[in-house]
Every structure is written in C-alpha cells, then in structure tokens.
C-alpha cells in the first residue's frame, strides 16, 4: 500500500514538473477578494472569455492588495503576481527600484502604445520613455457631495439638485449654512498624512500658486511661500477658525476616513476623484442616487483639477508571455484599447457588478484614446446607468474645459505633500499659527530636499 502511494506520488510530481516546462503561468493579482461576490462574478466571466482566447495559459487567482510593507519583500523573493494594481503615487518609485517589468515591447507589438493617454503614459514611463504600466483608469479630483445633507440644509434648486459651490468662497459660505442647518461638517479636510498635501496642492493651484518650478539651468525651485500659496493656506486656516466648518479633528482624517465622513453624512463635501465613487456609496452606505460630483471650485487663480491615473503594473520577473497574457486579460476586462466581443461583454459585466454593489455607473476618464472603446463604454454606461446624470454633469463639464486638467507637481511630489501636510496640521490645530512663517519653513525644507535629490 505504502509503495503504491509512493509510486503514485512520484508520477504525480513528475507530471507536474513536466507540465510546468514551457507553460505560461499568469498570476492574477487583480483577481478580486473572496468576499467581493459581484466582482467575482464578473471576473469568472472574464476568466471564461480569457480561456477561450488563450487556452494554454494557466491562471492562478492571486488576489494581492498592494501594500508598502509587503511589496518589497515579495519583490525581492520574486513572488509578486504577474499583474497587480497599485496606487497613483507608486509608479515612479517602483520603476526606479527595478521592481516592475518594462512592457514597452509588448505594448508596441499590440499597437497600444500610441493609444495610451499621453499624460498618463508619462506617469508610467521612465526617463528614457520606456513604459512600465497600463492605466486601470484615469482620475481627476472633484468635489464629492452628499446630496442628503444638502437636502436637509435646504440647499437644493428647483429640480431638487444640490446647489453646489462654484468658487472657494462660495464653498465656505455653503459650508457655514450646512453646519448651521444640520450640524454636519461642511467639508472634510485631510491633515493626517500626505493625502492632505495632495489635496491642498490642488486648492493652491486654484488660488494661483505653482508649487514647483524649473529654471533655465534645469534647477528645481520650491515655491511654497508665494502670496498665492500663502493665501490658499490662509483660506484653509479660515475654514477651521473663522468659519469652523471642518470635521472635528482634521489631523485624524485620511483618504479613507474622508469617505466615511461623507458617506455617513457627518460631512457634506469632500475633495475626491471619479474613480472612488464606490467609497462613499458601496463602502459607506450612501444611497447610490445621493452622491453628487461637481468640479473643484474656482479660485482667484483659476480652476484646475489634479489629474492622474491608477495603474496596473507587472512583476519584474514576469516573462514576456506572462505579460502578454496579462494584457490579454485586461483586454477581456475592457481595460485596453481594443473593442473585441469579450471586451464588450466585459464592459457590461463590470457595469452590472457596479449596479449590484450600489456603485454609481458613470463615465470613466478616457485613459485610452481608442474612439470605438470610448463610444462603447459610454453606450454601456448609458444603458446601465443607476444615477441621475445631472448629478455628475458639472464634474464632467469642468474637467472637459480646456486647461482644467493639471498633472501633479513634477518632482518629489510626496516630499512636497509631506511638507504641506505639516503646515496643514499646524494651521488646523493652532489658532495663532503664522501661515507665512510656516510656509517659509516648508519652502526652505522642500528646497533642501530638492537640492539633495533632483538638483544634485
């Protein structure tokens, strides 16, 4: 009996070893978690379609939620999934560290390179123009609004749509009315981590600031203490001390808690992007038809929306075959500039999953410029729409304006955000904080960092 088992084991092992030779394994880090049933259903469909297209590829469902404390260990051990989703802050860091695969050749072969939105492509490329990722979707910051709170405060027009603020001044006034009428905070301001500085940089632009500049010698300059930037910071300080419309403790608010405050109605407005509409609704219970998005308000310096993309990236040790398989899978999902039948079906599956989950089905940011794909996606969105499109009209109108979209500041963005966040923490915790002095210090600090890194 023992002998028989041993023989069987040997046979099985050698079969496995044999089959592993020359076989392409796609470790699918973007496969959803076990609990996300609607998304799982959609992915089972993608898998079936994918298997029809590439029957020889073995797919491993390897759900991986990118996390900075696990990633490097996995990369050094060679266990990063073939394809994984990461955050918009990470691509340059991952490229510099050699943690991700160069997929330029694969993209060229498929003819996708020129179809990628050029701005997003530059975010995913190194200095030599080699490309390391593809966009899941693009995003631009806007103003998310809890329509229930606006209704409670009576801030609705004749059609019952929230009267959203169009300038930062109006935002402060609106926020005051909301706080008086409902007790909810007017705005969630983030001041816990770098997300605070990230949001603030967009406010500063609308006050007319440019936070980094490069002179003709190529040297980078910090520009945090310009009158415009200081005015923007003073505005934030006023939101806390003059208008008192922020949530109780901005220093404990981060990207995620902001959505909780907004979704639960503890706050009425929040700076957030279109790719995060599932956060207040599905994740925090706001009814799908009570979420509104407007463009970020205009300021004395104009109206800009910070623009970027959430990327898919590929393990450094992935084989070209595995990368191609991963790209094929994206095509099945409708996340590629190819409008195949599976892609069409994929778009529908995705929209249905959103409907089931109570996530707004709205237009995406075109991260690929393929006209057919964009048209097809719009058709699907129109068919499966579960929201009043007027609730998102101003957002899409704003970001469609010429010159509204703006890339984040070009160098050491995270260091810039860290410096701004420190100032935010100071002005929302200390009524007597000297905004000019704090911004001067932040400017000196950032300049020091620039001189030690990019100016070296």
């Amino acid at each position: 009996m023992k002998k028989l088992v041993a023989v069987l084991l040997v046979i099985m092992l050698s079969l496995t070893a044999f089959s592993a030779l020359g076989e392409t394994v796609l470790k699918l880090g973007i496969y959803p978690e076990d609990v996300d049933t609607a998304a799982l259903e959609a992915h089972e469909f993608f898998l079936a379609e994918f298997a029809k297209a590439l029957p020889d590829v073995t797919v491993e469902k390897a759900h991986y939620k990118y996390a900075v404390d696990t990633f490097v260990a996995m990369a050094e051990a060679g266990t990063v999934p073939t394809i994984f989703e990461t955050w918009f802050t990470e691509p340059q860091k991952l490229i510099r560290g050699g943690f991700v695969a160069d997929i330029t050749d694969e993209l060229n072969e498929l003819g996708w390179t020129d179809k990628m939105n050029p701005t997003i492509r530059s975010l995913l490329s190194d200095a030599n123009g080699r490309i390391y990722g593809v966009p899941r979707d693009g995003y631009a910051l806007g103003l998310m609004i809890n329509a229930e709170v606006f209704e409670d405060a009576g801030l609705v027009d004749a059609d019952g749509l929230p009267l959203y603020p169009k300038t930062w001044d109006e935002l402060a006034q609106t926020a005051v009315k909301i706080k008086e009428a409902t007790g909810s905070a007017g705005l969630v301001l983030l001041a816990k981590d770098n997300a605070g500085g990230w949001h603030f940089s967009n406010i500063a632009w609308n006050f007319g600031a440019t936070l980094e500049s490069q002179d003709e010698t190529g040297k980078w300059h910090a520009n945090l203490n310009s009158p415009e930037a200081v005015a923007a910071m003073q505005y934030v300080k006023d939101l806390k001390w003059k208008y008192d419309v922020l949530t109780a403790d901005p220093t404990s608010e981060d990207w995620g808690t902001g959505f909780t405050q907004l979704g639960t109605g503890a706050a009425a407005m929040y700076i957030a992007a279109n790719d995060a509409v599932s956060q207040p609704t599905t994740n925090n219970g706001l009814p799908v038809d009570k979420l509104m998005m407007a463009g970020l308000p205009a300021g004395p310096g104009g109206q800009y929306s910070l623009f970027g993309g959430t990327p898919y990236m590929f393990a450094a040790n992935a084989t070209p075959e595995a990368i191609k398989a991963a790209l094929k899978y994206l095509e099945t999902m409708g996340k590629a500039p190819v409008l195949s039948d599976p892609a069409k079906a994929g778009l529908v599956a995705d929209a249905k999953a959103r409907q089931t989950n109570g996530t707004p089905v709205i237009n995406e940011f075109p991260s690929w410029t393929d006209a057919d794909l964009i048209a097809a996606r719009q058709a699907v969105v129109a068919e499966y729409s579960n929201v009043d499109t007027r609730m998102f009209q101003n957002y899409f109108d704003t970001v469609a304006k010429e010159g509204n979209l703006r890339m984040e500041e070009p160098v050491n963005a995270q260091d810039l955000y860290a410096e701004l966040t420190k100032v935010l923490q100071a002005v929302v915790t200390d009524q007597n904080a000297d905004v000019q002095a704090l911004m001067d210090t932040a400017n000196t600090n950032l300049q020091q960092i620039l001189d030690d890194t990019v100016n070296k």
Partner: protein, 288 residues
C-alpha cells in the same frame, strides 16, 4: 573527554545560535552594509561610503525627530520610571487584596498593543467626542486640545505607554521586594522602624540594582518608539511627535529606500550603545 563534553554543550546551543545568527546577527550586519551602499530595494548598487548618513542628517525632519526622541525619553523617565516602583511597594505593603492588585496592574499589558493605542487615541481625541473631553464636558469644561497640542502630545503618548507597560515592570520590582530577606524587615521592625523607614532604608536600597538595569532597558526601549506616534498622530501635529524610528519607517516603507532607513537605524544603535557604555561606566565608578 573534554571535547566530547563541549560538543554536547554546543549541540544544545546550536538551534539557538542558528536562529540568532539568522534572525538577529545577519540582518544586523546586513543593515550596516546596506547603510554604506546605494540600493534598489535590498539589492546593493554601489558603495557610497557615508553619503547616506550625510543625506539623512541634512533632511528637514531629522533634527526634530532627534529632539522628540530625547523628549520621549525624558518624559518616560519622569512619568514612567518611578511609577512601577511605587506600585510595587504599594502592593507589597498592602495587607489585603494583594493578588487582586497584582492581577489588576498587569491587565493593561495583556491588551494588544494596537488596541491600547487606539483606545488612548480615542481618549485623547481633541473633539467633543474624545473620552477626556466628554468627561470634561460633564464638568462644564470646553473641549481641550490633547494630541493636537504640540506641547502636550509627547507626554500624552508617554502616558499611553506607561499605562500599558508599568504593570509588568512593577511585577519585576515586586519580585525583587519579595526576594528581600524577611529578617531585614524583622530587624527593622524590632528597631522600631515605621512604614516610611522600612521603605526608604530596607526596600529601596534592595531594589537599587534592579532599578539600575530596568532604567537602561527602558531607555533602550523608549528610544525605539515607533507605533504609538505612528498610529496616534502620524508624527504630527507639524512634526511635534515624530520619532527617529518613524523616519526609519518612512524611508523603508514609504520611499522603499532601505539604505537610508539602515543609516538611521545604525545611528540609533550608535547612540544607544554609547548611552549604555557611559551609564555602565558611571555605575561602576559609583560602586567602587
């Protein structure tokens, strides 16, 4: 045969040595090496000498972190050093409910560290719904800034650490007290010593050596404070509670820059080794 006896001892020690080498010594040496190199992840690229040290020393957050780390140390000695001794003596001298007190002081220590930190973050929240502010509200006092106050944040974090750690330390002192020969007490009582005299002339001198060891252990532990400020304040407001270890965390996990993370770690070790050596030397001179 001698070597046979030695071989047996080595064999007994071997698993421990292997584990130590693998989990402690090798990473330690690796960190020192990494701090002298430019690296991608943990793959070294080229030798850069002391460049990483120069870099971290000139960054804007470095000196605030150094200052704060020493402030943590200072406050932990003020708040946290004597308290366990007092608690131990109190338990030792109490005539009823000794085991109840013993269990009670140790309870905070079995609460998971992160839970402790979240609990106290809630208590010291600066809005009207923070624990302290709700208590104050009952007394009609307006909400106060707690962790949000740059001047209060470090002592408050030290209170959190003390709440968690003091009980365990006091049990060590209690063991020390119970190790004191009863004859000393009896002699003192016969000579007419009261409680105060018993404490100052019998108990405390007997605890001196233990306290000396625990002091330097406390210094070493507090100097490496990381997760309390990381979770409670993320180093804020405006760097008022950022610690050196938090900079290590940021270099390693936010920037994936393990060389510079290692450089700060090595600097921390140098400071701690120096402090320990000086402390031991001073102690030895006192003993002579």
């Amino acid at each position: 045969m001698r070597w046979q006896r030695d071989l047996a001892s080595w064999a007994v020690m071997l698993p421990g040595l292997v584990l130590f080498a693998f989990f402690i010594w090798q990473p330690l040496l690796e960190a020192i090496r990494l701090s002298l190199y430019e690296a991608n992840g943990t793959r070294v690229v080229r030798f850069v000498g002391l460049d990483n040290y120069r870099f971290v020393l000139t960054q804007p957050d470095f000196w605030p972190a150094v200052g704060n780390t020493f402030l943590y140390l200072l406050w932990s000695l003020i708040i946290g050093f004597l308290l366990p001794i007092v608690m131990a003596i109190f338990i030792h001298e109490s005539t009823r409910g000794k085991s109840l007190y013993r269990t009670a002081v140790y309870l905070p220590n079995i609460v998971p560290s992160l839970a402790t930190v979240f609990l106290w973050r809630y208590i010291f929240k600066s809005d009207a719904y923070g624990g302290m502010n709700m208590l104050l509200g009952m007394l009609g006092v307006a909400p106060q800034n707690w962790l949000n106050d740059a001047g209060r944040v470090i002592p408050l974090i030290v209170v959190t650490m003390t709440w968690k750690g003091a009980g365990a330390t006091s049990l060590l002192y209690l063991a020390g007290l119970q190790g004191i020969s009863p004859e000393l007490y009896e002699a003192a009582v016969i000579d007419g010593a009261n409680v105060r005299q018993r404490i100052f002339h019998v108990a405390l001198p007997q605890l001196y050596n233990l306290a000396r060891t625990l002091l330097i252990l406390q210094v070493i532990a507090v100097f490496q404070i990381l997760y309390e400020p990381l979770v409670m304040t993320n180093g804020g407001p405006n760097n008022a509670s950022v610690s050196l270890m938090q900079l290590v965390f940021r270099y390693a996990f936010e920037k994936f820059d393990y060389s510079r993370a290692s450089a700060i770690s090595v600097l921390i070790s140098i400071v701690l080794i120096t402090l320990t050596l000086v402390y031991n030397k001073v102690n030895r001179e006192q003993d002579m």
